[in-house]
């Protein structure tokens, strides 16, 4: 293999694939990136962690076609430090790959490309396209609620499913057992009969990074066990979480009669301010709801107390309710409008938070007993 490629192109492509590679691997070849050059000027790079695979294709001057694998992080670090605007030549022969740029030369150890594991995609019957903006919105508004608890592996991702209601919809939900986030968008064409899938957290994180560079649409193909996102130059393929997502619709409260409307900015700032004093682990904030007045307060046995009044729109009986400040801030951070609706029932029941009944996103938060 002999290839010459511009440093900037190579760096961008490498930055796409290298973050899939884990820092520590028990299987040595998983630390490597597969480099493939074909005679038609296609230069492909591929990385995998056995659950997630990314392929990035760019154009390059190919003198001799071929393929090899080299340590991904090392190559990325080298290319990152090469002078800007330089031409990088990659030559692979006899178990080594020579990287030359200007006056710098690196000879890297390689592993045979035939050992590189590929994810067998199999049949991906469902196929639809989503605007990248929509996909970004789905991810941004739900990913904070993804659980990191490995024992409940079926919560370690975003749940995607379609419904056949009056308005067919694609719904995305994530929960960690304490809060739930759900985004509803209209069902794209081709998504009819889509199986319910759980897209794992790492795939979501990689996808979100790549989306920043994509305009237009993203092609999504999936089966019950695999999903593929086609983002122009990059193609991301991931295994799906093999588990059953809980029936989350029954925890979304429908009869919360106490409606509180406030300005999300001042509410968020208030919560942030009073929680300064909360102990770093629990971060419990108490909300005392009265007529058109909400008092946020925190009592910490070590640090003292804090209270802030936030004006809001409320008429109903006064009562107290506690929340985890971090959870509240996560949710409020996703509200874009000028008003947020908080639907309350009592101090022990799930609370519904959303911008309004038209908003695509809704959040359910369990209170904290303080």
């Amino acid at each position: 293999m002999k290839v010459t490629i511009e440093r900037a192109t190579l760096l961008k492509s490498l930055s796409h694939v290298q973050s899939v590679v884990e820092r520590r691997n028990t299987i040595p070849i998983l630390s490597n990136v597969l480099i493939e050059a074909s005679t038609d000027g296609q230069f492909r790079m591929m990385a995998t962690d056995l659950d997630l695979q990314i392929v990035d294709t760019v154009a390059a001057q190919v003198e001799i076609a071929g393929a090899t694998t080299v340590p991904a992080h090392t190559l990325f670090d080298i290319v990152r430090k090469l002078p800007e605007g330089s031409q990088v030549s990659l030559t692979a022969a006899e178990g080594k790959m020579l990287v030359v740029a200007g006056r710098a030369r690196f000879n890297l150890a390689t592993l045979p490309r035939d050992d590189f594991p590929m994810i067998a995609e199999g049949e991906l019957p469902t196929h639809f396209e989503l605007p990248s903006e929509t996909l970004k919105q789905i991810i941004d508004k739900t990913r904070f609620a993804i659980s990191t608890e490995e024992t409940r592996y079926y919560l370690n991702g975003i749940f995607l499913h379609v419904t056949d209601d009056a308005q067919p919809a694609l719904k995305a939900a994530a929960t960690d057992g304490h809060r739930l986030a759900r985004v509803t968008v209209s069902r794209p064409e081709g998504a009819i009969g889509m199986p319910d899938v759980i897209v794992p957290r790492k795939c979501i994180a990689e996808l979100r990074k790549l989306l920043d560079e994509v305009d237009g649409t993203v092609a999504v193909s999936l089966s019950a066990s695999k999903v593929r996102f086609d983002l122009g130059t990059a193609i991301l393929t991931s295994k799906l979480i093999d588990g059953t997502f809980p029936d989350y619709s029954r925890v979304i409260p429908t009869a919360n009669d106490k409606l509180l409307k406030l300005d999300p900015k001042s509410f968020m700032q208030g919560v942030d301010r009073v929680s300064t004093i909360a102990s770093e682990k629990t971060r419990a904030v108490k909300m005392s709801v009265e007529n058109d007045k909400i008092t946020l307060s925190v009592t910490s046995p070590e640090n003292g107390t804090a209270a802030e009044e936030v004006s809001g729109d409320y008429s109903g009986p006064s009562f107290d309710i506690g929340f985890n400040a971090r959870y509240l801030l996560d949710i409020l951070g996703q509200i874009e409008g000028d008003v947020v609706e908080v639907h309350l029932a009592d101090a022990a029941s799930p609370t519904l938070i959303r911008e309004n009944d038209k908003a695509p996103a809704l959040y359910v938060l369990m209170p904290m007993r303080v």
Binding site: S147, T151, G177, H178, V251, K281, P301, R369
Partner: protein, 582 residues
């Protein structure tokens, strides 16, 4: 096959199977008899770990000749003068031991009541061998020879003489600990193995039988609640052991083995010791005889309490109170091992690296060597340093390696590990602050169903209110599952199933939710660790003194969160020894 009544000698051998299973159990019965006879001194001789010979000599009340004959009958005893078996105050009461032993060995009883003549009677495996007058001081001498010599089935199951001997020593130690007022001697194959004088205090006796250093490293316990009293000694947390072999429980002077003790001790030392360290404790519970049933086990090593919750509460409360009162104490003095490592340096020029060293192929980082020779930090004294070293931990004099505080106390030199000490202080402060409120609980969006066996669910359900206080809200969900509605917010979104399963097991084993408390404690300890002064930070004299003063008034400041000492003292005597002045 017709049913028949078994002959007497067979009945005795069956009974012997329960009461006498090895030399140690025969020895236990004989020593208990001696104690019940009101002896002041008890001498024990063993041959080959008791396999070939056991001899117990006491100076107790003795027996008349006709009583000796009766004592060797089954169910004959002097210890139940009326028929109130619930009110028994002596160690024995079943009247089974002597005939049982006599049925499987050669048993000789010689006894003399003060002011009368002595008499001897020998029974060889259940058959009277000889009888006649004997000459001995007042008291009783019982000799057992050839235990199981004619019961090969049993003999085969005995272990080596060495391990049988170890079991015998354990029995004697337990009984001797229970009765500090009685003197004990134990000879094994003519060698004196143990001797404790009569009339010792409990603490002395416990120390003599476990570890001499315990005297300086223990706290006396004296705790009375109603008719129940708890006494004894508890080792300081820093004086812990790797195995739980030095934990003794005595109920009304009777050594017993009880699971209750294990759980209660663990609960009491919970945050003071690492999980794999075990404290040394000897606890003496005295309670009205009607409150405890000793007639549970033929060897009487187990008892049953009418109100075991109360006893457990007493032990935990008593230990806790004593440990709190111990405050900043920590294991002292410096272990002799580390004292031995103080060595005098020969004053000779150090071989210097570089010039003289042979040029080797190894690359070595060379430091430019322009830094000044190490010297003590001189610091302007803004506050006059208090000269009178009236404080238990003394007055700070400086810092070594930016890690240890050196302080001078009236009676020696105190070294304090600044990180370990401050970590403990922060933890204690956090604990005091959080003691008032309930633990905050985060309710779950999707209540988690945890499947368990039925008794496990019952136990959890019974303690649901207590667990709720700790932030874990659960309720019964059918016969074999519990539903978890809320978890302690401190633990985050952790593994609920694992926690609940552990708890159910622990409630069975220790009757206490140890692991929930431990997990909460662990989070607190981690926070304390991050929030405390690290090793390597340079402290001013005022800061050091403040730390020392706070340690003196904070309970449990003698050990860090992992059970290691936070400070050690080098007494003046120790320092003088180092210089050969003593």
């Amino acid at each position: 096959m017709s049913i028949r009544r078994l002959p007497e000698h067979l009945v005795n051998r069956i009974a012997a199977g329960e009461v006498v299973e090895r030399p140690a159990s025969a020895l236990k019965e004989l020593v208990e008899n001696a104690i019940d006879a009101g002896a002041q001194r008890i001498a024990i001789r063993l041959a080959e770990g008791g396999l070939t010979g056991i001899e117990v000599i006491d100076d107790g009340c003795g027996m008349a000749p006709d009583e000796i004959a009766l004592a060797l009958e089954r169910h004959a005893t002097s210890k139940l003068p009326n028929d109130m078996i619930e009110m028994v105050e002596t160690l024995g009461f079943r009247g089974e031991a002597l005939p049982s032993i006599a049925s499987v060995a050669t048993l000789t009883i010689e006894s003399r009541v003060r002011g009368a003549d002595g008499w001897a009677r020998t029974i060889d495996n259940g058959v009277l061998a000889s009888e006649g007058p004997a000459a001995l001081p007042p008291g009783t001498r019982v000799k057992v020879e050839g235990l199981f010599a004619r019961v090969p089935a049993r003999r085969k199951f005995l272990r080596s003489a060495r391990s049988e001997y170890a079991a015998c020593v354990d029995i004697v130690k337990r009984l001797a600990m229970a009765r500090p007022e009685i003197g004990f001697t134990l000879e094994h194959d003519g060698r004196r193995a143990l001797a404790v004088p009569p009339g010792e205090s409990r603490a002395e006796r416990v120390a003599a039988l476990t570890d001499r250093a315990l005297v300086d490293n223990s706290i006396a316990i004296d705790y009375v609640r109603g008719e129940v009293s708890l006494g004894g000694v508890a080792g300081l947390p820093t004086f812990s052991r790797g195995v739980a072999d030095h934990q003794f429980l005595f109920v009304n002077g009777r050594p017993v083995k009880d699971r209750l003790l294990v759980g209660a001790v663990r609960a009491a030392y919970q945050d003071l010791l690492a999980r794999d360290r075990h404290p040394v404790v000897a606890l003496f519970v005295e309670l009205p005889v009607a409150e405890v049933d000793v007639n549970v086990h033929p060897a009487k090593s187990e008892v049953r309490f009418r109100d075991s919750g109360l006893i457990r509460g007493m032990i935990v409360g008593g230990l806790r109170a004593a440990l709190n009162a111990a405050g900043h104490r920590s294991a002292q003095p410096v272990a002799s091992g580390s004292m031995g490592s103080w060595t005098r340096e020969d004053i000779s020029p150090q071989p210097s690296l570089g010039y003289g060293a042979p040029a080797s192929g190894i690359l070595r980082d060379r430091h430019l060597d322009f830094s000044a020779a190490p010297s003590a930090r001189a610091e302007p004294a803004y506050h006059p340093v208090p000269e009178q070293a009236r404080f238990p931990l003394g007055v700070a004099r400086g810092q070594v390696a930016a890690t240890y505080i050196v302080a001078e106390a009236e009676d020696g030199l105190v070294l304090v590990d600044q990180h370990a000490a401050h970590e403990r202080l922060v933890l204690e402060r956090m604990r005091r602050a959080s003691a008032e409120g309930r633990v905050a609980a985060q309710t779950l969006l999707l209540p988690e169903v945890v499947e368990l066996d039925e008794p496990g669910c019952d136990r959890l359900e019974m303690r649901a209110a207590e667990l709720g206080e700790l932030g874990l809200e659960l309720e019964r969900f059918g016969p074999k599952a519990v539903l978890v509605r809320a978890t302690p917010a401190l633990l985050g979104a952790g593994d609920v199933k694992g926690l609940v399963t552990d708890l159910a097991d622990e409630l069975a084993a220790y009757d206490d939710a140890v692991s929930l408390k431990e997990r909460l404690e662990h989070v607190a300890a981690t926070m304390a660790c991050h929030g405390s002064v690290r090793a390597g930070r340079i402290l001013s004299v005022a800061e050091m003194n403040a730390l020392l003063r706070e340690m003196e008034v904070t309970p449990h400041s003698g050990q860090c969160n992992h059970g290691r000492p936070t400070w050690v003292k080098l007494g003046h005597g120790d320092i003088e020894k180092l210089f050969g002045r003593r």
